[in-house]
């Protein structure tokens, strides 16, 4: 399993559009991807779940990736978050 933490720096936080883009990024891989805030984890391929986390600017999230392509998936998702969130 690959895991990384990331602190959101986008002033708008994880709103609908970035959440949608994250789902797209995660769905490109076969690995299971979860995103966790304050101990609550949701499937990063499900947009409703991500949005219910209400992730805001300055908050820390933990992303866990598990599966065959976890190496590539974790790298890609981390790069995506750095660039967009």
């Amino acid at each position: 399993m690959k895991q990384f933490t990331y602190v959101i720096t986008d002033p708008d936080g994880m709103h609908a559009r970035p959440a949608g883009a994250l789902v797209k990024a995660a769905s490109a891989f076969t690995s299971n991807v979860t995103i966790e805030k304050d101990g609550r984890a949701v499937d990063a391929k499900r947009i409703m779940g991500i949005m219910t986390l209400g992730i805001k600017n300055g908050q820390e999230v933990v992303v866990k990736v598990e599966g065959e392509d976890e190496e590539a998936a974790a790298a890609e998702i981390e790069a995506f978050m750095k660039a967009n969130l």
Binding site: R17, G20, K24, I47, M48, N57
Partner: protein, 550 residues
Amino acid sequence: MKVFNGTAVFGGVAFGRISIYKRNEQTIKREHIQDAAAEIKRFEDAKQTAISELKGLYEKALKEVGESHAQIFEVHQMMLDDLDYVESITMMIEDQKVNAEYAVATTADTFSNLFASMDDAYMKERAADVKDVSERVLNVLCGNSSGASVVDEATIIVADDLAPSETVQLDKDKVKAFVTMFGSTQSHTAILARTMNIPALINTNIELLDEYDGKEAIVDGFTGTVYIEPDEDTVKVMKEKQEKDLARKALLQELKGKESITLDGQKINLYANIGGVEDVPKVVQNDAEGIGLFRSEFVYLNSNDYPTEEEQFAAYKEVAEKMRGKKVIIRTCDIGADKQIDYFNMEKEENPALGYRAIRICLDRKEMFKTQLRALYRASVFGKISIMFPMIISVDEVRQIKEVIAEVLAELDAEGIPYKECELGIMIETPAAVMVSDLLAKEVDFFSVGTNDLTQYTLAIDRQNNKLDSIYNPHHPAVLRMLKMIADNAHAAGIWCGICGELGADLELTETFLKLGYDELSVSPSMLLAVRDKVRKTDVSKVTLREELQ
């Protein structure tokens, strides 16, 4: 004439006929079904139809309002494909043997309630998204056609509230304004209105009466007023207001995104003066390059007691974030003189303009000052904040300020609270500060000239005394010479200097300020583009300073 009021989310004046927006209200009944698999297929088919409709809306929005606003329809497609959402519906159909309509409506309620209960204005809006996409599926299931009819002329849409899919289906050439009974500044109607550059009112006290349909109306997006069947005088006043606004918008289109640079390549930073968080949209609309003066008095004036650190922090953070990395210069508390507050319990003074005010209070009431500085430094990590101190007369004051700052930062360090280094500057608004500006320049990162007070103190003229209006002359050579001295001393010490008083927006002096080498002008948002226009038409090499400045 009937008049209604709401909250304006975008300025502008619009004329048109009212079109009351009505949607198909559908009543969903719970029905028992036999064949769950067939019912699930009905849902899946309806969902696919809804998704292909949304793809169409995405394409339409992409053309009309651009990628960033079109993305919401991609998100809507994802919502319909979301496994949590789909599973909730299919499981209800399977387990409870209910009809697809009921399962969709119930699931929509569950998810939208989840969002509506969240402590975040933006996320609350997502409740409307869930309802909207579900409504689309329900329309397919029930065989309803959705859509709005916009008549073939200038139209003012009046609705209870509008979902994104509803707004995008409207004919943008015909819609001149939105008026809704509900909604928030974060709602899609508000966002779309800003994108379309048309006035919009939310939370309007209007009812959706059939008798209004087709009536002539005017929407004033500055005051938040809608006039139905306006009288002649109102039409005349509004026509003038509209023309003025259109001229300003034309200038905006021309100058937006352009640099504030002279014909011979001298750049100047054009910032805005604001008095509160609510002014930020105007700053952004008028394309300011930063905020040159954020008067922090409002946090004190809007309060019945000393504002807490948290209250101040929230306000400063919000502005810093909304400016997205552009510079925000916040001036510390400038209470006293003409700005009095009860809970400060200040003694009545014979001469308040020369009295206990601004930095003098702050250095005397240190706890209050420290509260503000803590709030400012805590907010500093959310953007690019500079701090500016008013009413300085001596180097000693600046040193005292730095000592207080050192104490505050040591406390933040000890508590492990993050902060960023902030640029520190002072207002130059007393003749004393001008005369020692060479010494002050070695202590701070920038100067900002407060011309209103500087003029009053230099000319010894009370600016609130009407009798003296005729001799209150901000173009007085004494004032202009001071401006030269300030700029020269700032640049000799390698720091930047700007002007944040009213004189900064005086177009007669723009050339002079450029010639004197001012690095920044901070003006009210409505003046920004006029000043930029003037800067871009100036050739500094051809400007000759008036005699008394040479």
